[in-house]
C-alpha cells in the first residue's frame, strides 16, 4: 500500500533507526500505525484451532477519501511490487496493515487440498489483474508489512479466484462453511471476497488420540468417560476394536477405588451393543441389548429415544416392543411412554391404538414439550383424517 511508505518515513523521522528493531517488550504502548485497529478471528474445526491476526484498514482511508474502485490494482498494486523499502523489491500484499497478517494452525491441515504443517505463518496475497490471485503462507511470520518478504520462506502458495461481494468498509477476515471437518477462511473488503478452504481430513483421529490421552488422566477415573469415548467411536464407526475395550471397561472395571467400579446398566450396555453393531457382530450385539433391556430402572426417556432410533432405521416392530417395555417399566408415566406407543403403533399401521395413545400423551404433555404441542396435534389429526 502506497501510503504505508509515508508512515514509514514518519516512523523513521520520529524514532531513530535502531529502535525499529527493538523487541516488543522494550517498547511502550502507543496506538497502532495509521489507526488501523487490531483484530483477531479464530475458528475451531473440532479440536483444531485456526487464528488469523491482522490490522484492518478501511476503504475510506486516513484522510476520509472514498477509495471505492481504487483498492484493487490501485491502493494495492497487482502482482509482486516494489514497496520502496527494503530488503524486498518484489513483494505481495500483507493482507492488512502494519505488522504482517498471521495465521496460526494448532494442527496439520490441508489448504485447498495441499498439506500445511501446524504453526504460525505470515499470510500474503498476490493480486492479479486477469487471472487467479495467490495466497502465500510464509514461514517468516514476524515481519512488519511485507517489506521483508522473501519467496525462499514460502511454505505454500495456492491460487484463488476473487468474487464480487457486498460492500465492506473495513477489511475483514471471517470464517464460513464451519463444518465438522472443514471451514472456509474468507477475506472480504470493498466489493471483493476471496477465500481458501481448510480441511482437517483426520478430525476423527485427532479426537480419538486426544480422548485416548485424556483417559490416561483424571477423566479416566470416571466410568462415564470410558462410555462416552466408546459411544463417540460407535457413532462415527471409527476405532471400533479399541472402543469395544473402552465400553467393557466402563461396564466392568473398578476404577482404582476412587469411584465405585464400573457400571452395568442400560446405557453402558447399549453403548457396547452399538459398537458390536458397527463391527457387524449383530448376534453378539443383540445379546448385549437384550441384557440392557432387563434393567427396570432405566429412565423412561432413554428407552423412548432408543425406540425412536429404531423407528428412524425402519425397525418398526422392534421399536414397538421397546415402547411396550417402556410402559411396562414405567406404568405411571403418561407422556413419553404413550408418545412412543403412539409413534410405534402408527408405524406398524395400527391407527386405533396410535390415536388412543396420542390422546393420552396429549393430556400429559410436560412443560418442556409444550412448544411442540401443535406438531403432536398435527400428527394426531393426520391419523384421524386418514381413517
Amino acid at each position: 500500500m502506497k501510503n504505508v511508505k509515508w508512515l514509514l518515513l514518519f516512523v523513521l523521522a520520529c524514532t531513530l533507526l535502531p529502535s525499529a528493531r527493538g523487541q516488543v517488550l522494550t517498547e511502550i504502548s502507543i496506538p497502532p500505525n495509521g489507526d488501523n485497529e487490531r483484530s483477531e478471528v479464530s475458528q475451531w474445526i473440532g479440536l483444531v484451532k485456526i487464528s488469523i491476526d491482522y490490522h484492518a484498514p478501511n476503504v475510506h482511508g486516513g484522510g476520509g477519501a472514498d477509495r471505492t474502485g481504487h483498492i484493487w490494482g490501485g491502493l494495492i498494486p497487482y502482482g509482486f511490487f516494489d514497496d520502496g523499502h527494503g530488503p524486498s523489491h518484489a513483494t505481495p500484499w500483507r493482507v492488512g496493515a502494519n505488522e504482517n497478517t498471521t495465521i496460526t494452525f494448532s494442527h496439520d491441515v490441508r489448504i485447498d487440498g495441499h498439506d500445511l504443517k501446524a504453526g504460525t505463518y505470515a499470510l500474503f496475497l498476490a493480486l492479479d489483474k486477469t487471472g487467479p490471485w495467490t495466497w502465500i503462507f510464509s514461514n517468516h511470520s514476524t515481519g512488519w508489512g511485507s517489506y521483508q518478504y522473501d519467496p525462499k520462506n514460502d511454505a505454500l502458495r495456492v491460487p484463488a479466484t476473487p468474487q464480487t461481494a457486498p460492500y465492506t468498509e473495513f477489511m475483514t477476515f471471517l470464517f464460513d462453511e464451519r463444518r465438522p471437518n472443514s471451514a472456509t477462511a474468507v477475506l472480504q473488503w470493498e466489493s471483493k471476497r476471496i477465500s481458501f478452504k481448510i480441511d482437517v481430513p483426520n478430525v476423527n483421529d485427532l479426537y480419538v488420540e486426544q480422548i485416548r490421552k485424556e483417559l490416561q488422566g483424571w477423566p479416566g477415573f470416571n466410568y462415564q468417560n470410558w462410555q462416552k469415548a466408546a459411544a463417540f467411536c460407535a457413532a462415527r464407526k471409527i476405532n471400533l476394536e479399541e472402543a469395544l475395550v473402552w465400553a467393557d471397561k466402563a461396564i466392568h472395571e473398578p476404577f482404582r477405588g476412587v469411584w465405585s467400579g464400573g457400571r452395568e446398566d442400560f446405557s453402558t450396555l447399549r453403548t457396547k451393543a452399538a459398537i458390536l453393531e458397527a463391527l457387524g457382530r449383530q448376534s453378539e450385539a443383540d445379546t448385549v441389548t437384550a441384557k440392557a433391556l432387563t434393567f427396570t430402572d432405566t429412565p423412561v426417556i432413554y428407552l423412548y429415544v432408543y425406540g425412536s432410533g429404531l423407528l428412524a432405521k425402519g425397525q418398526n416392530d422392534k421399536a414397538l416392543q421397546i415402547f411396550k417395555l417402556n410402559q411396562q417399566y414405567h406404568p405411571d408415566e403418561k407422556f413419553w411412554t404413550r408418545r412412543g406407543l403412539a409413534q410405534g403403533y402408527a408405524a406398524v399401521g395400527d391407527k386405533t391404538q396410535a390415536i388412543e395413545n396420542w390422546e393420552v400423551a396429549l393430556r400429559n404433555v410436560p412443560l418442556s414439550e409444550q412448544s411442540d404441542v401443535p406438531s403432536f396435534e398435527n400428527a394426531l389429526n393426520k391419523l384421524k383424517s386418514g381413517n
Binding site: K2, L9, F10, A13, C14, T15, S19, T26, E27, I28, S29, I30, P31, P32, D35, E37, R38, S39, E40, Q43, W44, I45, G46, A56, N58, D82, G84, H85, E169, F170, L174, D176, E177, R178, R179, P180, Y207, I211, E214, P219, N222, Q224, N225, Q227, K228, A231, F232, S267, T271, I301, Y302, V305, Y306, P366, L367, S368, E369, Q370, S371, D372
Partner: protein, 386 residues
Amino acid sequence: MKTCKWFLVALFLCAPLRSMRAQVHSELALPPAGDNQRAVISQWIGLVKVTIDYHSPNVHGPSGTDRTGHIWGELVDYGFPDLGFGPSHSAPWRVGANESTTISLSHDVKIEGKDLKAGTYALFLDVEKEGPWTWIFSKNAKGWGSYQYDPKFDALRVPVTPTDTPYTEFMTFGFDERRPSSTVAYLQWEKKRIPFKIEVPNITQLYVDQIREDLLTWPGFNYQNWQNAAQFCADNKINLEEALVWAEKAIHEPFRGAVVGVEDFSTLSTKAAVLGAMGRTSEADSVMETALAKPDTTMFNLYFYGVGLLRSSRPDRALKVFELNQQRYPDEKFWTYFGLARAYTALNDKSNAIKNWELALANVPSNRQFMLPQYKAILKKLKDGN
C-alpha cells in the same frame, strides 16, 4: 432454541444425569453438540480488547433443512420463552449454540452509551416480533445455553433495532466501524443484522496510564521510550505537564548507567512539540533553534519540521527551515526543492514555487516516481493559475 432440547435428550442418553454437573476438566474432548463449531472473534479498540466466544449454528440445521424464514420467532422464540429445562422459566436466546455466548471486555466501556465494567459476561438477545430487540449482558457467564438465565444477574440491557442484511448461512459475530475509540459489534444471521456500539471515550487517557506504567519497567531504561511517550502526549494534547518532564528526561537523564539521555534533533523536536501543544510557541521555537543547529540533523529531519510548520500555518518559518535544508544539504536535489516549492506555494510566491517545483520534478527519486503524475498536475495548476 427448540432443537436444544434434543441435544439435551441426546446427552441424557449418553450419560446419566449427574454427569451434567461434572466439571469441565473432568470431561472428554468430544465434538460440540449438534456439530455447531466454536468461534472466537476479538477486536481491539486501542488497548481495549473485546472478545466474543460462541458456537455457530447454521440456517440449514443438522438435517440439512432450509430454515430460511423460520429462524426468527420460530427456531429462536420471540421474547422470553420457557425452555422447559433448568431453573429459568423465562429465558432469552443464548445467541448461538451450546455454552452461553460470552463477551469479555479488558477495560470499562460504554455499550450504546451506557457504562459497562470490564469483565466477562454472558450475552443474550431478546428477539421481538415488533419493536426493538434487547441485548442482555449477564454476570452469570458460565451457563450452558440460557437455561440458567436469571434477570437478577443482568449487568446491562440495551435495545437495538435489527436491520435487513444479505443472507448469512452461519450465525456470525463481527466487528465493523473499527475506529480508534469505538467499534460496532454485530450479530449477523439469515437475513438479520443486530448491532451494538462499544465506545472507549477515555482511550487516550488509557494510553497515558499504560505508558506511565510501561515507563516504570524495562522500557523506562531507554531514552527513546520517554521521548515517544512525550510525543504521544503532544500529538494528542493530553497530559502535557508530565509530558514535558518525560521529554526532559529523554534529553538529560542518565539512565542508571544503562543508557544515557540524548540531546539530538529528534528528542529536542519532541520537547518543542510538547511546548507547542501547551501554547508556549516561542519556547518551542527556541528549542527548535538548538535542534536545527545539531550537526546530526538530517535532511529529512529538516524537511519534516518544515512540513509541520506549514501544517501549523507558519509558512514564513517553514521557508527559513527549507532554505536552511538546502544550504545544509546542497547535493540533495529533490526533498529540499520539494520543501521550498511547498513553502513558496503557501506564501503565494508563484514564480519561486514554479521554479522549485521544476527543479524537484527533474530529480524525483525512483521510489517516488509513482507520484509523478500527481506532482505534474500540481505544477500545471500553479502555472495555469498565473
